[in-house]
Point group: C2
Chain length 130, copies 2
DNA sequence: GTACGTGCAAATGATTTGCGTTAAG
DNA sequence: CTTAACGCAAATCATTTGCACGTAC
């Protein structure tokens, strides 16, 4: 959609690398702390600006759990398992489910569907014990 | 899960009524403005407290679009069509898709799935024109 | 009657903005 | 070179909290 004219600054490169390596869905603060290891002088405002920027450009994705923004670098279509107790998010791959959803999407009128994912809500193992 | 001991105050009843009648997915402010018509003295803190309370009790549901919390009173399982441009959310009913997702969910281990829904991301008619 | 909810105002926390300086292309 | 991005601090916006008073049950 708008994949041109991207200035690859050190800050953006580090954020992208961090998200690529991170196994999970970090919050803004977690991205900030992680990137600060390499770029000691980076400011949190820059992290905010770039997470939004990169999301707009489609290079990363924003996920939401319990009202908190989280981010992921995994652009391969996948689904999310969300614990309603602790807010933890786990990825779940199911190409069949994606395909099925896209098939359903063909019936939707007056809207151009570009992507789809499914959320599974419930309780993770840890929270079930309590 | 925790459907006992609910004190039905005027404030809670009005919030539930408002969400029942509202065609869409209002933000906290929209709920506040809507409820204030009947209950002129209600405070925004009370709206916040009760939206969270009612969500915890499972009487309403929280939805999220572009980092903003929104709420709905429609508890019948359904899906969401989300415009990535303007953040607008529309409901979409497809029992087949829900059933299919729940079938897929049976394969998930170490997690108790209680509900599922699918998001369709893209551009709404209004935003496509621009 | 009592515990829980309310309204208010103040506190906290998250996110954005303005601006002089710096660096990518 | 020139334009966009950065870092910082201040500003804004969203949400939560503490507490005296009121009300559902």
């Amino acid at each position: 959609m708008e994949s041109k004219n991207i200035k690859y600054t050190n800050q953006r490169i580090e954020i992208l690398n961090f998200l690529k390596d991170f196994d999970g869905h970090p919050t803004v603060d977690e991205v900030y702390e992680g990137v600060k290891v390499k770029l000691t002088r980076i400011s949190k405002a820059t992290v905010y600006k770039n997470l939004r920027f990169l999301t707009d450009k489609g290079l990363i994705r924003e996920v939401n759990s319990k009202g908190v923004s989280r981010f992921e670098g995994n652009l391969v279509p996948h689904h999310h398992i969300i614990c309603v107790e602790c807010g933890d998010i786990t990825d779940y791959e199911s190409e069949e489910l994606t395909d099925y959803s896209l098939k359903v999407a063909e019936d939707i009128e007056n809207f151009k569907v570009e992507a789809t994912d499914t959320n599974f809500y419930g309780f993770c193992g840890k929270c079930l014990e309590e």
